[in-house]
Point group: C2
Chain length 368, copies 2
Amino acid sequence: MAKRIKDTTPKQDGYRMPGEFEKHKQCWIIWPERPDNWRFGAKPAQAAFVEVAKAISRFEPVTMVVSKSQYDNARYMLPDHIRVIEMSNDDAWMRDVGPTFLVNDQGGVRAVDWAFNAWGGLHDGLYFPWDQDDKMAQKICEIEEIDSYRTPDFVMEGGAIHVDGDGTLVVVEECLLSGGRNAHMSKDDMTEFLKEYLNVDKVIWLPRGIYNDETNGHVDNIFCFVKPGEVIIAWSDNENDPQYEISKEVYDHLCNETDAKGRKFKIHKLPVPSPPVTITAEESQGIDVIEGTLPREEGDRQAASYVNFYIANGGIVFPYFGNEKYDKIAEDMLKEIFPDREVVGVFAREVILGGGNIHCITQQQPLG
Amino acid sequence: MAKRIKDTTPKQDGYRMPGEFEKHKQCWIIWPERPDNWRFGAKPAQAAFVEVAKAISRFEPVTMVVSKSQYDNARYMLPDHIRVIEMSNDDAWMRDVGPTFLVNDQGGVRAVDWAFNAWGGLHDGLYFPWDQDDKMAQKICEIEEIDSYRTPDFVMEGGAIHVDGDGTLVVVEECLLSGGRNAHMSKDDMTEFLKEYLNVDKVIWLPRGIYNDETNGHVDNIFCFVKPGEVIIAWSDNENDPQYEISKEVYDHLCNETDAKGRKFKIHKLPVPSPPVTITAEESQGIDVIEGTLPREEGDRQAASYVNFYIANGGIVFPYFGNEKYDKIAEDMLKEIFPDREVVGVFAREVILGGGNIHCITQQQPLG
């Protein structure tokens, strides 16, 4: 039983998006394969996704969805305890194409199934077509027998929203106001729409996302909630790095904000790796060239950020990049910020080469 | 968690195949689409499958699996309460390609995942390739998180076996001994193998299946269990019909048999439709011709049998063919034989045109 709810909104029905730090039933991930985004037939990326899935599965169940053609390979490469389900896809960003799950705090779970257009549609989207990705949220809801709210005229991705589960939503202006998503709506219209569909009372608009992000600046690469009233932002102390100004702007903005409950924010500054992660000559090889997809060239700066971690039940799974000093800073800070969770790092250069990181490739399904 | 169990057998582990009349969790069906087997792009067949699914869903949950390309159409044509899941397939015979589920009577459910080769492989199989069909049992077990026993060297289909859940298995010689399945094994070897994998004590071998069956005579078109000790067979009183001799043979065989517990059988004779169902001129149109698939020509006799019904929780869903007299006889007999179940008929000429019927397109998943 997985209905499409058409006449009401989550707010009307008493469903809210919980914070990622609330209890999960499981985590969903998509098996990567497109050879125009992942080098060498996606084999190095698949190995990295296996490591992410294994790390998360130490804390909660993981379901990997995979295309028909890669089913056997994924099943073989993953341990038995990770569930593998066939599902067509256009790429591997479950955060953005999966359902945004909701709870009603009485055991009920529902989801928002946003329209998805590959981060900008024909305006500045990253691939075409994107129809299989757009169907994934519904397919997952069918498998899990979860009713969903579909927003056919409202484009959104899970990576563009972060909530504290307590009335506050944080988004990024340059992302939500980009020309390829909901150009027919004003900022105020969007604020009202998001309040209805995520059941929040306040929407905080940060100005910009991480430097050089392909998604027009998803919030989940620059900001996240630790819990209500406590947040982490990506940071740079280097005034010559363009990230400095962006992070400073976010910091100043948050210092002058309160959340939906009137709390001031406790803000942790998690440094981005320095020097920035750039594509090596080797990493630039082995990618199919297809008209319209982004090039991956030697020296290109990657939007690498330690903020793009996943909060699992009792665990933190964060990406590291092979920069010994900054990897260590990130690990130590996360251990301090989350003293009750086990912090596990996964070497995730292959994931950032595809355009995102651990948070981007995962989607938590809360317990009802 | 869906493991492949390799070192033990169901008998060793205390798992048995339950009778179809035992309690189900749900029923699985595959959405039909191949245009070389189903006329007019499978649209009439899809409508018939919808009716079957709806009828069964009155009694128990139904999950329809469907290819990527037909997903939206199936989701649209089926009511909300029927779950729809993407799954690649080669055709629509869930009885034969789905898992054979097992229970241990302590809440545990497992499955046998038989090798499938399209009813005869390169010897006399009905299509090529069959690899997607062969993967379906595993995919369903993954979704349901059920451990399975894979038999890579033993070819079997769910339609070729009927059990009473109480130690007795009934199969058909002309089917199991056909050259395209397990020609490397003797009848005795197969008997022993099936005892291990279905956890039965006795295997009864009927000589032949229904007349003109494409599957080398699946048992489920000529015989089924009502409960332990009570069975139904397809019957003909017309000595000029080749079905007469086959049914008489089955009847005589069963009269001289006892089940695993030593019971004699109470045998109901359910008449096949007379005159036999043949393909009309109209029904022979609109089928893609592809080398190697069976022709569907006007006047061809169909293996139409009322025995090919599905036992649902509290219900019987049986096929009728538009032969008013015999349809009525079947309905009345089934009502008498199953006084505690509601008997529902579905007009199923479209299903028999594809080569099977309601039992062939369904697979029950027992409650643990």
